[in-house]
Each structure stands twice: as structure tokens, then as C-alpha cells.
């Protein structure tokens, strides 16, 4: 439609496993919660030999075994675990997957889980180019990274560019340094800040910059980010 390629970040076995483990905990907790309610609130013996017991175990089994197909179809290729891990299922053209594709993907879960602990699926993820399990191959789906933070940073850069006269490169560099300020070591961030400030303002006194404290350096970078004057090369 547009002639512009879509670039998607493929989720690797690590991210995939992370999403699966979160989902596994959610469905396990939901199923266990249902069983506890049945046992303590409705006072039902949890055994398949009595009708009441079996009908209490049945919803828990449905929650546990049909969690993925139901939620993936309802949420168009996503589950709570996938959302938390920042991934989503897409079809190979990058669009949302159809219901039949999602069902096929889940039918093959039985095969991917063989012989134990999703061994076949994991091996497939390691050896295939798109890091897909057998179910994804059959359904024509991919697990991609859902970079929601990128949109937020786009809006942030827009806002900064609107009120600042700095170049895009300088804006992004300053923004990244300030964003990661607390996670950087004190000595490293001081060195980076002084280097940036010297480039932003070549006339600045080097000795004065060396004497500046950590908080002052941060404040000066922040002031440059919000300033409406053009900077030198960064």
C-alpha cells in the first residue's frame, strides 16, 4: 500500500520464554485460585470420582489448558504475559494474525511441548531464522518485540525539539544522558556531562567545569535541553 518496508524486531528464545513463564504463572494462579474457592467456599471434595468435584476441577482445567488460545484470539495475538514481556504475535506480513492462524499455532503447542518442557519448540526457536517454534511455522506467525517505549520517546523528542534550538543529535544525546543519569556511575556521568557541555559551549571555562558538582552538571545539561539557543557541534 505504501511501498515502505515494515521493520519488526524478532523476539528471541529468551524473551519468548520470559513471556511464557509469566503466562504460566498467571494461568497456574488462576486455576489454583478457582480450586481453592471450590474447596474452601463451596466445600467440594476435589476428586474426579464425584460429579461436584469433577465439575470444580473442569473450570480449572479449562483455565489452565485453554488460556493461550482463548486470550490470543480475544486479544488479537497478545496475552498478559506477552504484554508484560513486550512482545506480540503478528502474521508474516506484519499484520494482526487471523483466528485460524492463532488456533493452528495453539494446536501445535502439543507437538512443541514434546518430549518435555517445550524442548522441541525451544530447539526450533534456536535453529530457525525467525526464531519461531513449530506452531508458528504452521500458522505463519511471528513473535515480535512491541516497542511501546519508542513511541513515548518519539513524543518526548518532538516536545523537546519544539521548544529547543539544539540539533536533533544533540537533543537525543542530552535526553539519553539525562534519562540514564541515575543509573550511571558518578565519575562516568560527570566525565560525560563535562564532555558534552564543552562541545555545546566551546567558550566555557574548562577549569570551572571541572569544579562543578554532580547536581550542577545535571542542571546545566537540563538547561541546555530546554534552551532556545542553537548549540555548537555535539
Amino acid at each position: 500500500m505504501t511501498g515502505v518496508d515494515l521493520t519488526l524486531g524478532i523476539a528471541g528464545p529468551g524473551t519468548r520464554s520470559y513471556a511464557f513463564v509469566i503466562d504460566w504463572h498467571i494461568r497456574l494462579l488462576l486455576a489454583a485460585a478457582w480450586l481453592l474457592i471450590a474447596y474452601y467456599v463451596f466445600d467440594v471434595a476435589l476428586t474426579v470420582k464425584s460429579a461436584a468435584g469433577f465439575l470444580s476441577i473442569l473450570p480449572a482445567s479449562i483455565i489452565y489448558f485453554l488460556y493461550h488460545p482463548i486470550l490470543e484470539v480475544a486479544l488479537r495475538g497478545s496475552t498478559p504475559g506477552k504484554r508484560m514481556a513486550g512482545v506480540r504475535i503478528v502474521s508474516r506480513d506484519g499484520g494482526p494474525p487471523g483466528t485460524s492462524a492463532l488456533l493452528i499455532r495453539n494446536i501445535f503447542r502439543l507437538m512443541d511441548s514434546l518430549p518435555a518442557a517445550y524442548m522441541l519448540g525451544l530447539i526450533s526457536c534456536f535453529v530457525t531464522a525467525n526464531r519461531v517454534r513449530v506452531g508458528d511455522m504452521a500458522a505463519g506467525t511471528l513473535l515480535v518485540l512491541d516497542n511501546a517505549a519508542a513511541e513515548k520517546s518519539l513524543l518526548r523528542i518532538e516536545a523537546l525539539a519544539t521548544r529547543s534550538q539544539l540539533s536533533l543529535d544533540a537533543l537525543e544525546l542530552l535526553d539519553q544522558v539525562l534519562e540514564r543519569w541515575d543509573s550511571l556511575e558518578s565519575a562516568s556521568r560527570g566525565q560525560i556531562a563535562r564532555s558534552l557541555l564543552r562541545r555545546l559551549d566551546p567558550a566555557a571555562d574548562a577549569a570551572a567545569l571541572e569544579a562543578l558538582a554532580d547536581a550542577n552538571l545535571r542542571a546545566m545539561l537540563q538547561a541546555h535541553l530546554n534552551s532556545d539557543t542553537a548549540a555548537a557541534h555535539v
Binding site: A138, I157, A230
Partner: protein, 335 residues
């Protein structure tokens, strides 16, 4: 004016449009339906964003701006290419067109699987008839003990377990067997052939064993109501699995992966029908088959009727007849 300044100015000039797209995407992602104006607006925004992304990739390839635009473009691509929820029309299409088409494609393989199961059953019968001790390979000690005492293992099952529970347990087991028969097709179809042959062997062996103890009629009475459809469904799932294996061995398109994927999509509707039919089988096997109150004639009638329903659904005759009537009525009105 420098390039850097131009880029910043361009970014500022497009900022409002991008902010609008972010809001548009957020709104459309949660909406079930969009109006024509909203859909046209999204397509227009998609084209605009594609132009901006192409520019951004050229002027600032590794910037946060470009990665933000990439992400936004991906989100909007998903919204613009979202398939509508089919509802009843999709269901009608599934039963009138997709299932019959897939079943027609599988017809030779279904017959082959039926033949394989029948031959395996004969082999199982011969094995146990010739070497009676081999029954221990196919049946549990409990089942053997029951038959040697002159009772089928299915007798009294309804007293041990309520019919509803029995139905659901049988349904779950049958669905797992059918899915396995289908999925095992990825091992070039060999996994499926093994499963079908084993099922046939077990069936033949069980019949030979109960025949030796004068219980063949009792077993026939037990399985005749649900058996025809249950065994047919396993053969259909097996045929689907073999088709899957064949799509890998002899790809019909450029790559084996694409061939495998296309085949899985083409034959998946038949599996859905299999699952639905197994629900009925579970119901019959839980409520009718173990109940001695049903005479043989009723059981045979139920078995034939249910198998006929399966045949009608597989061929799509019921729905295509309705569609034909609708079309002729529509043509009559137009004339």
C-alpha cells in the same frame, strides 16, 4: 541553514501530525468497529507516516525519532490491516465452503487411512487369534481380567463414574489422540501412520480377545453407536497429518516452510469439524453406549444417523443446498 537545523525544523513541522497518529492508533486499537471516516483517516495517516518514516530513515537512521516512527508505523500497519471479525458469515463460509473443500482435498488420504486402520485391525486380530498371550501388549491387566471373568471392561462403568464425567474424559482423550494424529504429520507423515496403525492393531486385538471369550457381540453393541464417527474422525485427523507430511516431502510452493504453512491453513477447518464431532461422540459414549437400556437397533440407528450427519457436514451438502435456494430466490426476485 545546516542539515541538522533542517532536520529539526522538519521534525517540528511533523510533530503535530505524529501526535495525532499516536492518539488515532490508541483509539482504533480498542475500538471493535471504525466508521468509514475513521478508516479513511487511518489509511491517510498510514501513507503520511510511511513517507515520514522513509525520510527519517534517510536523514537520521539511528535516531530515537526513527525508532519511534518505526514502532508507530508497525502499530498503524496492524490497525489498517486488521481483519474484520467474521461472525455468522464466517461461520457459514466455514461450513459451506472451507470444510467441504478441505475434506474433498483429503478424500484419497482419508480412504488410505481407513484402509490402513482396517488392515492393522486385521493384523491385530490375527496376532491375538494366533498368539493369545500377545493381548498383554495391547490391553491392561485390568481389562484382561474383566474379559476372562466373562465381562466387558465397559460393563458397570456408568455406575462407577457419572455419564457427564465419562463424556468429558472420553472427549478430552479423543481430542488429544486426534490432535496427535494430525501434528505427528510433521515427522514426514510417519508419526501419523504409526498412530493410525497402532489404533487399528489395538482395535483388532481387542475384538479377537473378546471373541475368544464370547463377548464380541457385547463389544460390538458398545461401540456401534459412537464408534463409526470416532474411528472416522481419527482417520480424518490422520489424513490431515499425512497431508501435512506430504507438504514437507513434496512442497507445492517455493519453500517447504511455505508449503507446510499453506497446507496447515487449508486443512485446519476439517480439524475443527473433527473436534465438534468428537463432542457428540463423547456424549454418545458417556450416555448411550454404556447404558444397557438402549437396544441394539437404537444403537445402530444412532451410529448410522450420526455418521450420516458427519458425511453431510464433510460434503457441505446441507449448507450448499441452502445457499443454492437463497441464490435462486434472489434471482427470482431480481427477475
Amino acid at each position: 541553514m545546516s542539515d541538522a537545523s533542517h532536520i529539526r525544523q522538519w521534525l517540528v513541522s511533523r510533530a503535530a501530525a505524529w501526535r495525532g497518529v499516536v492518539q488515532q492508533v490508541a483509539a482504533l486499537r480498542v475500538q471493535r468497529r471504525a466508521t468509514v471516516d475513521e478508516a479513511l483517516g487511518a489509511v491517510e495517516a498510514y501513507r503520511g507516516l510511511a513517507r515520514d518514516l522513509a525520510t527519517a530513515r534517510r536523514v537520521a537512521p539511528n535516531s530515537r525519532m526513527t525508532s519511534g516512527l518505526e514502532s508507530l508505523y508497525g502499530q498503524l500497519h496492524g490497525v489498517v490491516n486488521r481483519r474484520p471479525r467474521g461472525g455468522m458469515a464466517a461461520l457459514r463460509l466455514l461450513f459451506a465452503n472451507e470444510i467441504p473443500t478441505a475434506a474433498y482435498e483429503l478424500r484419497a488420504r482419508i480412504a488410505s487411512m481407513g484402509l490402513l486402520m482396517a488392515l492393522s485391525a486385521l493384523a491385530g486380530w490375527w496376532l491375538v487369534a494366533t498368539f493369545p498371550t500377545l493381548i498383554s501388549l495391547f490391553a491392561s491387566d485390568d481389562m484382561i481380567e474383566h474379559v476372562e471373568e466373562g465381562h466387558l471392561w465397559t460393563e458397570g462403568i456408568i455406575n462407577v463414574m457419572p455419564s457427564s464425567i465419562l463424556s468429558i474424559s472420553i472427549l478430552a482423550n479423543n481430542i488429544v489422540v486426534s490432535i496427535l494424529a494430525f501434528c505427528a504429520g510433521i515427522f514426514l507423515g510417519l508419526g501419523t501412520l504409526y498412530l493410525i496403525a497402532m489404533n487399528g492393531l489395538m482395535l483388532g486385538a481387542a475384538f479377537a480377545f473378546v471373541h475368544q471369550h464370547g463377548l464380541a457381540r457385547a463389544l460390538f453393541e458398545f461401540i456401534i453407536a459412537h464408534g463409526p464417527v470416532e474411528l472416522s474422525v481419527i482417520c480424518i485427523a490422520g489424513a490431515a497429518g499425512v497431508a501435512l507430511g506430504e507438504s514437507i516431502i513434496r512442497p507445492t510452493v517455493e519453500s517447504r516452510r511455505d508449503s507446510f504453512q499453506a497446507c496447515a491453513h487449508r486443512i485446519a477447518p476439517v480439524l475443527l469439524l473433527c473436534a465438534l464431532l468428537l463432542v457428540g461422540c463423547g456424549f454418545i459414549e458417556g450416555f448411550v453406549s454404556p447404558d444397557p437400556g438402549f437396544p441394539l437397533a437404537s444403537r445402530i440407528t444412532i451410529g448410522i444417523a450420526y455418521w450420516s450427519i458427519m458425511w453431510i457436514l464433510m460434503t457441505g451438502r446441507l449448507f450448499s443446498a441452502r445457499e443454492g435456494k437463497k441464490e435462486s430466490r434472489h434471482e427470482g426476485n431480481s427477475a
